[in-house]
Subunit: 359 residues, 2 copies
């Protein structure tokens, strides 16, 4: 099977049916599919349909409870603590973000911390839920430990992404970023291409900076060592800063929810126990939302039209690349790689779906 370009509508039909057959109701299957599909449409291939096998395995093994009902275990007008009850991360997070949005609409701000959830896909999906309603959205999650603190060689932190989005035209400002130099997914891509990675991304099992992506992956998956935080492995280029941002994610997700810190997420279960944090703020508590939005749009335009760095002919503001890829893939379809297609085929066989009628 070669890689294939597939229209997003076809991918949606396949995904929705697969999650339905895995036991989710139609509504939940649609939500999960939405999150995965947006990742593929944004060009973040590592967090979309290519993860379907992982979710499937975790459901089969019982790490993800398909019938879990997330529970609000503590609440104030501006906050909530949610126990995900081992539910699917996308579903737990959808509930949690909606709670945060409702609170922000009523009281100006909503803060929701979540424990006992699972891998939730791209952080930006949830922050966009807020900015699509004219609100400021923040989303972050811890994850299986894969990142070493500065001067440590033990993975103690997840890649712990943070997403921040703000309403703007023609697309929201959307910053969505791991707090590590690169994601594990990026190293997997280099590995597939048999391409050396730059020194400074990650360590091998001996805790030494390594060019070979396979060695770094081995080190991550064995828990022996891992990736560097944003800023790299020393203080010279600010590795302690990336480590700090990662700690902020950890504190707002796993610490204040009394959940599982990244280093205690069990390797074999890999996502069970993951913790999230969502914050929503209504910009109208600071002034006229359209005036504020205009102020941001002017600034973004000033940045884009500032003097280009040598050898560069375009300056991006955050969210532009995603929006352009979205528009492109909506029309042109999504490239699905060979390995992912094989996994999808295997899954559809197990679920008695006719793969060929979908693609």
């Amino acid at each position: 099977m070669n890689s294939k370009i597939i229209r997003s509508e076809q991918l949606r039909e396949f995904c929705e049916e697969a999650f339905f057959r895995l036991g989710f109701n139609r509504g939940d299957s649609t939500i999960i599919t939405d999150v995965l599909l947006l990742s593929d449409l944004f060009g973040i291939d590592s967090h979309g349909i290519n993860r379907i096998k992982m979710y499937y395995q975790h459901i089969k093994a019982g790490y993800i409870d398909i019938s879990a009902q997330p529970e609000i275990i503590m609440e104030t007008p501006v906050s909530a603590v949610i126990d995900g009850r081992k539910g699917m991360g996308q579903l737990v997070s959808n509930v949690a973000m909606k709670v945060a949005i409702e609170k922000a609409k009523t009281f100006g701000v909503g803060l929701v911390t979540v424990r006992n959830s699972n891998h939730y896909g791209i952080a930006g999906y949830y922050s966009l839920m807020a900015s699509n309603e004219g609100l400021i959205g923040i989303s972050m999650t811890n994850s299986l430990a894969a990142v070493v603190p500065t001067f440590s060689k033990t993975p103690m932190l997840g890649t712990n992404p943070i997403a921040f989005s703000f309403p703007a035209s023609p697309q929201p400002f959307l910053f969505d970023s791991a707090t590590s130099v690169v994601s594990v997914g990026k190293i997997e891509i280099y590995n597939k291409l048999d391409k050396p990675i730059p020194l400074g991304w990650g360590l091998n099992s001996d805790g030494i900076d390594e060019h070979d992506p396979a060695e770094v992956l081995k080190s991550v998956f064995s828990g022996k060592s891992g990736l560097h935080p944003l800023g790299g492995g020393s203080e010279e280029f600010g590795g302690h800063k990336g480590y700090g941002f990662s700690m902020v994610v950890e504190i707002l997700s796993s610490i204040i929810s009394l959940g599982t810190t990244s280093n205690h997420i069990e390797k074999e279960k890999s996502t069970a126990g993951v913790c999230h944090f969502f914050a929503v703020v209504d910009p109208k508590i600071f002034g006229d939302p359209m005036t504020i939005q205009k102020h941001l749009e002017n600034y973004l335009e000033e940045i884009r039209s500032s003097h280009k760095a040598n050898d560069h002919d375009r300056i991006y503001t955050h969210g532009e690349k995603e929006a352009e890829m979205f528009n492109h893939r909506k029309v042109q379809g999504i490239v699905i790689h060979e390995r992912t297609l094989i996994e999808m085929k295997e899954l559809s066989d197990e679920l008695s779906m006719d793969f060929d009628t979908y693609f």
Copy 2:
């Protein structure tokens, strides 16, 4: 005059008197001194007493209004917008953070955005005001443009620091960091030592990565180019991520307050118009504060006792270095460099103070 070790009590007396003679009342002089002194005690020499000349010049030139009364121009139970009225950054920020703390104590969360302020010293001073009262504190500020967005060679962003602190024992967790690779102050130190800087910190006036700190400083102060965001000058090591964190600071300080973005802060005035953001959250809205704090302390201890990186014998958690330097300098005194002593002497002559009675 050679550099000198001075006890913090002497430095406090000198500073308080100098700011009093500059026109501030006794209470305000104490607050300003407090902020500068904590920076020196933490070992962040670039933001302490060595900035006294800058403040003096800005006061003399009228950029800082010593009698300004910060005004709350919009308010909800959980938020406020404050116009600093060109006041001294430390005083405006002290008022703003107190407002945020009061709101958090009453409603669980307080968000305060500030425009028309001035340079406020170290970000961490204000987040610590919250964590010293058992609350989660966040503090950030924009600043004179000195950092280039990814693929731009124009400084459009300040070094835009973020501080996050959380109550813990024996000292609070304190992450306080510029969102650039390094601060302007650090490059000034290399310049004084006539030491080349690593490629990847900043650009010369031609927008080319530069080893000579003098050339990078020239480039920053002329506004021709500047420093790289955390992650460096390309996407390879995540420069777009540092640029994103810097944008978050800009949005929460200058955008939602309808204030001055870093690129519009006038170079000759350098600090006038600076914008801040403060957030305070009471951890008790998420659970028992001591149980949460204990959970954090356990995690910090696990990190510190994880396997050390090769050639390193200690792993720090954020706030430890500051606390240790504080304890050291409280007893041993603070090293004040020759140039700073000369500036202090000049200032004391202008203010008819007898320099020698202080030191």
